[in-house]
Symmetry: C2
Subunit: 348 residues, 2 copies
């Protein structure tokens, strides 16, 4: 198939990666046809620590300007594509960076952050995480944060949140939300994967699921076949609709074990929590052979075509759906209101 697939003509947005970026890894992503990536810059970081991580990217946008551009609105992704660069969408995998201060939502949006999870595995001030025993749903502060994220144009991401919290976030949010990186529980039972109830509620509200390639989210883990993965996407598209699904590879590259320990245990435990791993198998999981770097999206494209999608559908899954979603999601509500009011005036 590689002969017939011209990766340079593809349009690819990845709904989440966690990579210790170098210019080499960015060049690899460009060669792999990737146009935009939602990059993780916080797991447990507080405000000050998250701001430092944002500044790290500010510096990269200067130093590595021939490779990356910041994405503040969806059009920046198209501009990146034109320039042969990668659009970088800054995101938090937890709400720790806004601490208990509602006004920091706007501050982080102004600093370029476009996606934030309301909780990461554990209970947060806003929502329950998927590793907790009990789920109290969206908290009093959580409702305020959702309203504020809706107002400024920051995507609510519930990838690592518990089920009831996720359903309540979908219901309470006035704008569609995302689960940037997770798979259906029906494909692989895991605390991180999502029930059909959640996926239906998500799609009915216009939200997006990014299919994950992280081995702990896959049927047969690292040995998951490309065929099984693409068939899962096919079935999920049947459940959610072809416009509500994308890729959120959760590709993790170039980190040592200590980083994984930080992701899992943060500052909240003194003895390591092994998360999806175990004491005897604690390290980063091995990626499936057919998806081990940003060069491998071509395999996914081929697999999706073989699973029964046509080219138009594959284009949607690989990038166009995320682009359309971000086109609305990254804009302040006031912009959308003006657009909608202008629309109704011109219709009237």
């Amino acid at each position: 198939m590689e002969e017939v697939l011209d990766i340079e003509k593809s349009f690819i947005i990845d709904g989440l990666q966690y990579v210790n970026w170098t210019p080499e890894l960015l060049r690899e992503a460009i060669r792999g046809g990737v146009n935009a990536i939602h990059v993780t810059i916080a797991y447990w970081e507080n405000t000050q620590e998250a701001l430092v991580n944002i500044e790290t990217w500010s510096q990269r946008f200067l130093e590595w300007g021939e490779l990356v551009v910041p994405v503040r609105v969806a059009a920046d992704i198209l501009a990146a594509q034109q320039a042969g660069k990668i659009g970088i969408i800054l995101g938090f995998q937890n709400s720790s960076p806004i601490e208990d201060d509602l006004r920091k939502v706007e501050m982080m949006h102004e600093r370029g952050v476009r996606i934030m999870q309301l909780s990461y595995n554990n209970q947060s001030l806003q929502a329950t995480g998927c590793y907790e025993k009990s789920d109290s749903g969206i908290t009093r502060y959580g409702r305020e944060v959702i309203k504020e994220m809706n107002r400024v144009g920051m995507v609510i991401d519930m990838s690592h949140s518990a089920e009831e919290s996720t359903v309540q976030a979908i219901e309470f949010s006035q704008r569609p939300i995302a689960i940037t990186h997770a798979n259906p529980s029906s494909f692989h039972e895991a605390l991180r994967n999502k029930s059909d109830r959640v996926l239906r509620a998500l799609s009915e509200s216009g939200g997006m699921l990014g299919a994950s390639l992280y081995p702990f989210h896959l049927h047969n883990g690292s040995d998951c076949s490309l065929e099984d993965f693409c068939n899962m996407i096919y079935e999920t598209a049947n459940l959610m609709g072809i416009d509500q699904i994308g890729i959120g590879s959760d590709l993790c590259l170039n980190w040592d074990y200590r980083t994984l320990e930080w992701m899992r245990s943060g500052k909240w435990a003194m003895t390591p929590d092994f998360g999806e791993g175990s004491a005897s198998d604690r390290d980063w999981p091995k990626q499936p052979d057919w998806f081990s770097s940003n060069l491998d999206f071509r395999n996914v494209i081929v697999g999706l075509l073989q699973a029964g999608f046509n080219q138009t559908e594959v284009d949607k899954i690989m990038g166009e759906n995320w682009l359309n979603f971000f086109e609305h999601a990254f804009r302040p509500q006031s912009d959308l209101d003006i657009a909608s009011s202008a629309m109704s005036e011109s219709c009237g």
Copy 2:
């Protein structure tokens, strides 16, 4: 009765006050016979803000040294009594000062903090607050924090926490916990007051309840009679045992409305939350006539005697129970283990 009551011979510990302290107010408390007070130095403060508040007290211990001494162990209260000063127990009404960093429990203990609530009205990282709709109990991080508070000798206070979280904290903690300021729901139905289920579990584990004199926790509010209040204590002593109850007056003095707004809304809401009040009645509630300052503990003593307690029992309620509780609770677990091991050796 005032003729027969020599307040200078009483021993009084207040389980919680929130006062904008001045030397005059401290002198008033000394005249009122108060020997120690658990003072609130955080509601929503983060680590840095809480440390500033601790430094404020460090400065006061220097400047107002003839009036106050810090309480690090229970014996400091007796030393304060000898010196005619007030022992000050530093406490947080929320877990916000330790943020998401387990090691800050020890740091705050080293800085003198002896009591910390796991949540204040809202969901925290450790436990649900009493104003939330749903209660998920003690979180993963919460269990780590309880273990650490047990280890260093910091009292777990669940005054503003929700019921299931409170019961779980009692069960999970290896050491007795406290509800420093609240009343039974049977006396006055309020989100802040506690069910018989909670009070029974608390007393069975050796924990303490501090009876509150804050009007929102009282039958008939500001018009609550001294008789009703003292009869409530009598009934609660029947339920919990005479050794498990003290006073936690929740006396709030010398603050303006903005401070109350801070207590209620912190940084988590942009429009005011009126808490136990309402938009039309938002201000500080008026204290009952018979308890409006630290001079009025004599009224409570008289009331308790009239309610049917004997002098020994009144002494326990007014201060001795708190003293006995703090004698163990403020010491690191390792100290208690050594004492217990020495005891068993001398017995063997």
